[in-house]
Amino acid sequence: MNVIESGVGELFQPPDPDGFREWVHTRKNTRMVDKVMSEQDAVARFVADGDYLGTELYGTVRAPMSLVRETIRQGKKHLRVAGQGIHEIDLLLAADLVDTLDITYIAWEVYGISSCLRRAVESGRVRTADWSNGGITWRFKAAAMGVPFLPVRSMLGTDTLKYSAAKVIEDPFTGKPICLLPALFLDVGLIHVHKADKYGNCRVEGISGFVHEMSRASKKLIVSTEEIVSTDEIRKYPEQTVIPYYLVDAVVEAKYGSHPGEMCYRYWRDGEHLQSFLKDSADPAKTKVYLDKWVYGVKNHAEYVNLVGTDRLRQLESEIGGR
């Protein structure tokens, strides 16, 4: 097959579908066992230095913030990260735990660009390869399908492709150029959901983002949930299960786990908190003060929630609005 172009970007996690199968066969458990544990235990057991890590959804929306904060507290380092993110990636970058980024978009949308990203990449501390949002999600989808790559019609003709690790080939069916995206198998995925049972059967409300793709592309998967529900409840509406239990290694109960981001139908984003971080993050010293207060200064998510305070959380609950 004729390769027309090869991206010059580094392939930080080469696709290995057979390695993934082997992992599943030897390490995953298809028996329904209770996986509820503390975030300390979950991160200690399932996140390792040097891991390739993914988070879903993103920064201000149903993001696994409590798990990210715990990962930082435990100082998991030399992480390789897939980034369509905001606050969660900013925190990992600010704590200097990231070596490489497969980046699609890291910024603050309505509020502005990311100072943490700028410092990390412009200084040469963090190496990058660029992709589109569709591109990185199709890389998860390829992994979820158990195949080494997927052909897509995106990224073609651009530097986004040139500085990625994608390839362009001549499609053997139409004869036209087509972009091949390498599957992205994650060592560990962190996902925050609305409801899960103790075995890890999960539901999310609202948009599904890339929960299907990333949960299936992860060797190890830690789920945090606003609420633990009974398996009877799960079995009553099985069509609502987006992550079945066998994908999951740990279930962590974390009400307000997406704070300062939002959780649809539960609480709205904490705009004040986010904007104050964004302002502080322009200055490395103030960024450290933020981390000292909100991450290192609390033992766990329960202490974090206390620090935010009940009044504030009630306020955010009242602001989310209904259906």
């Binding site: 959804l57 993103y58 201000t60 929306v61 149903r62 369509q84 980046i103 699609t104 978009y105 890291i106 910024a107 949308e109 309505v110 660009i113 990311s114 990203l117 990449v121 412009e122 200084s123 040469g124 990058t128 660029d130 589109s132 949002n133 569709g134 591109g135 999600t137 199709w138 989808k141 897509v152 019609r153 995106s154 990224m155 073609l156 003709g157 651009t158 530097d159 986004t160 500085y163 362009v168 499609d171 036209k176 150029p177 087509i178 972009c179 609202g206 948009i207 599904s208 983002g209 890339f210 299907h212 793709e213 939002e262 649809c264 139908y265 984003r269 705009g271 989310i320 609005g321 259906r323």
Partner: protein, 254 residues
């Protein structure tokens, strides 16, 4: 006529480009305000599409991000990013509204780096969904808040998102779906299209009080000029009231 600022003008003009009964990819920022305004004015049946899964939201409240709960409030569907991008790839999405830090004569956009790729002088956010949107939507509309020679450049530092690439036929040669590409560029000074034969950017209308030479001077490349350059309509009192009192009450943008 009430007085208005540049952002308000830009939003009102972008809003008028949104066609009732069509599907439109809406990015963060001005496109969201323009879509919210269009739905209240001439395009109640506009179907806003957000990349992380929202289709057909009411936009009663202004979304602050492309995945927040307002992107699927009273929507007809809440799916995920693969479904949305694949839907666009199959040709269902008419318009895509995007912004950029730099744009060249062919409508190619840079939102990745200023300077060399790595380590860059300035690291910008990256493509996000923009590359996918501009690859797949039939008509891409680019909104640039500041029309000057720093952002309208002959060569962008990094081609994040495809316009017409190097000119006629280049998109198709690269493997992108045929018949799609940049359609309009809206700025704080003027409205541009792309001349069909050369695929180069062309001035078609200026804002009230802006002269053609002002626009040419603010553009860092040779901008084509249409035979007849018209004047863009000013925001109406109703549009301004909706923007100030309903859509952007918290003044995120205006």
């Amino acid at each position: 006529m009430a007085s208005y600022n540049e952002s308000e003008f830009l939003i009102c003009l972008a809003s008028k480009l949104m066609e009732d009964g069509t599907t439109a990819f809406v990015g963060t920022g001005i496109p969201m305000l323009a879509a919210a305004l269009a739905k209240r004015m001439h395009a109640p049946n506009l179907v806003p599409i957000f990349e992380f899964g929202g289709t057909g939201a009411s936009l009663e409240k202004l979304p602050l991000g492309v995945g927040d709960s307002r992107t699927f409030h009273k929507a007809v569907a809440a799916s995920g990013i693969c479904d949305i991008m694949e839907t666009a790839c199959r040709g269902f999405v008419e318009y895509g509204f995007l912004g950029g830090a730099q744009i060249d004569p062919y409508g190619n956009l840079n939102t990745t780096v200023i300077g060399k790729y790595w380590p860059p002088k300035v690291r910008l956010p990256g493509s996000g969904g923009a590359n996918d949107v501009a690859s797949f939507c039939w008509k891409t509309i680019v909104i640039m808040r500041k029309h000057d020679t720093r952002s309208f450049v002959p060569r962008i530092d990094f081609l994040t998102t495809p316009g017409y690439l190097t000119g006629p036929g280049a998109r198709e040669k690269a493997g992108l779906p045929p018949g799609a590409g940049p359609y309009r560029v809206v700025t704080n000074l003027a409205l541009m299209d792309f001349e069909p034969a050369s695929r180069r950017m062309r001035l078609i209308a200026t804002h009230p009080g802006v002269r053609v030479e002002d626009v040419l001077k603010a553009t860092g490349f040779e901008l084509l000029v249409a035979d007849k350059v018209t004047v863009n309509p000013e925001p109406t009192d109703k549009e301004l009231r909706l923007l100030r009192e309903e859509i952007d009450k918290d003044r995120y943008y205006i």
